[in-house]
């Protein structure tokens, strides 16, 4: 079927997409790489001399750097744990027979469609504000001291907000996977005397394994660059308690206007992301029918 002519036309048809993506990748990347070797501060116009590895030195010795790495891991790990475990529970529950399943499902899924700036602001003000927020009101009316979420447990608060958005995503995908499970297989197992735990452990969980990997992979892509939720709630603070790598680079390049160091950070982030990507691609590749 694949003649030489169709090969040629196929290549022609792919080329616009490939050229665009290649340009999108290479042009800004090479500029970032180039800037990372210059002393280039937007607030200091004038010559931008070549300074070798200096920017990398400053970026790695930034006291916030190690904190940002740890925060990134905690944020991604925390959200992944909550959403995967929670998603499995939700999916199992929603898969059982009940009334009005459609409506309940719609309610569970809704947070996924809320834009990050909105969810950040709404949680910060209407819920977590210790004076006027709902949590504060409830605590006060029960006679407790209200929790100052972004002051006392900033990272946990961010994880909560981000999880609220991604839990529906995990639920939706795991539920779809669960629903494709052969009912007869389950019933046969039940006939053979397998209790619920065994059925979950040996039939349902293996069946969902592929969907779980995919949930983890795709969430990681998005969670590594969480930005808007931090920007509208804590601005990375208090201190550097909620500064992740993305936010740290944003601070150096757009709050300190140091393009050189910001670019060095960008290069570091890109390398790290590529390591993760390489690892993920291996796994994702097995799970996608390319």
């Amino acid at each position: 079927m694949a003649t030489k002519a169709s090969r040629a036309s196929a290549r022609l048809m792919i080329s616009p997409a490939v050229i665009l993506l290649l340009g999108w990748m290479i042009i800004p990347l090479s500029m970032t790489l180039y800037f990372s070797f210059l002393r280039y501060n937007l607030l200091q116009p004038g010559p931008t001399p070549f300074v070798g590895w200096e920017n990398y030195y400053w970026f790695f010795t930034d006291p916030s750097f190690s904190a940002a790495m740890i925060n990134t891991l905690v944020l991604v790990g925390g959200v992944l744990t909550i959403t995967t475990v929670g998603g499995i529970c939700f999916a199992l529950l929603l898969d059982r027979p009940m009334f009005g399943q459609g409506i309940i499902r719609i309610m569970v899924i809704a947070p996924f469609f809320v834009m990050p700036t909105v969810s950040g602001l709404v949680w910060k003000n209407m819920f977590m504000n210790p004076v006027n927020g709902i949590f504060g009101r409830i605590a006060t009316s029960l006679g407790f001291q209200p929790v100052d979420f972004f002051g006392q447990i900033p990272m946990a608060s961010i994880i909560l907000i981000v999880s609220w958005m991604w839990l529906p995503f995990a639920t939706l995908i795991l539920l779809t996977a669960l629903q494709s499970l052969d009912q007869e297989q389950l019933e046969a197992a039940e006939m053979d005397g397998a209790n619920w735990r065994n059925r979950f452990w040996f039939i349902m969980l293996p069946h969902m394994a592929r969907a779980i990997t995919v949930v983890i992979l795709i969430q990681t892509i998005f969670l590594l660059s969480i930005f808007a939720e931090i920007l509208v709630t804590t601005n990375g603070g208090p201190g550097v308690a909620t500064t992740n790598l993305t936010y740290l680079i944003y601070v150096s390049s757009l709050l300190q206007f140091d393009v050189g160091i910001g670019s060095a950070g960008g290069v570091v982030a890109i390398i790290l992301a590529n390591i993760v990507a390489l690892f993920l691609m291996r796994m994702i590749g097995k799970n996608l029918d390319a």
Partner: protein
């Protein structure tokens, strides 16, 4: 399904799942309620808000007056729909070629495309900003549409690819036997069969573009500012602002929430690159 489930079990399941579902949905419900309150009522204790205050639509009016909701709304629509359609034009030929004329490296190309999604946007912000400045694209709908098209292009190609793969090759061959040209083959045979897949691709990408909050905050200021920017202007209050913030939030998320509800099924597939169907 085969067995009858006791009604009591069903009620128990409904109650448990219903409670959890309600808790997940509650934040959205709460801002919906607050958006119909006055500012003074919106900061009262939750029970008082519910039972001891009047309902009003004044916050919606105030929000429109202050920050011109319709302008931002139209920008969001233009940019998300525009970037999706533009992406479709570029992605359809590519996905078609990869699905029907697979070469040895097709899988690698697909993987590479997906890997471009993993570039942290903040790493290339300054170069993009400078390029945009030089081409006069800052704060233009064209510029933002292009950027969002680029970041979603890999997903569009992937989704279309998985849908095209499912179309049996024999049908195409039969068409070719009947003397259909490549163009006719694509327009009359392939497209009708691919319409459901394309529709869900379009839906998912509109949702992603609508909610994108990094580039739209950095590259626009007023002319091209979409709803993400509109919301950001409420991030620090002047006086009481819960009701206005609620109204603005509802107006920003409602269109996409409704679209999302209608397209749950397709979403799963799109978001997992065809791995879960």
């Amino acid at each position: 399904m085969a067995r009858a489930v006791p009604t009591r079990t069903k009620w128990f399941n409904t109650a448990t799942a219903g409670t959890l579902g309600f808790l997940m949905f509650f934040p959205i419900l709460w801002i919906l309620i607050l958006s119909f309150k006055t500012e003074e009522d919106a900061i009262r204790a939750p029970l008082e808000v519910l039972f001891a205050s009047d309902w009003t639509t004044q916050s919606y009016g105030a929000v429109q007056e202050r920050s011109d909701y319709f302008k931002h709304f139209m920008n969001s629509v233009t940019i998300s729909v525009g970037s999706t359609l533009l992406g479709l034009i570029i992605a359809i030929p590519a996905a078609w070629a990869m699905a029907f004329v697979p070469a040895k490296r097709t899988k690698d190309v697909l993987m590479w495309m997906l890997s471009t999604k993993m570039l942290p946007p903040v790493g290339v912000l300054i170069p993009i900003y400078l390029i945009f400045r030089d081409f006069g694209l800052l704060d233009t709908r064209v510029g933002l549409t292009f950027v969002l098209m680029m970041i979603n292009l890999p997903i569009i190609i992937w989704m279309l690819y998985t849908y095209f793969k499912e179309i049996p090759g024999e049908i195409l061959e039969a068409a070719r036997m009947d003397g259909a040209t490549l163009r006719e083959e694509v327009i009359y045979v392939l497209t009708p069969m691919a319409i459901p897949g394309m529709a869900s691709t379009v839906l998912l990408n509109i949702i992603l573009a609508w909610n994108e909050a990094f580039w739209s905050l950095q590259l626009t200021s007023s002319d091209a500012a979409p709803l993400t920017q509109f919301i950001a202007s409420y991030s620090s209050p002047e006086g009481l602002f819960y009701a206005k913030l609620s109204a603005a939030s509802i107006m920003a998320i409602a269109p996409i929430l409704i679209m999302g509800w209608f397209s749950q099924k397709q979403l799963v597939r799109g978001l997992t690159f065809g791995a879960v169907k």
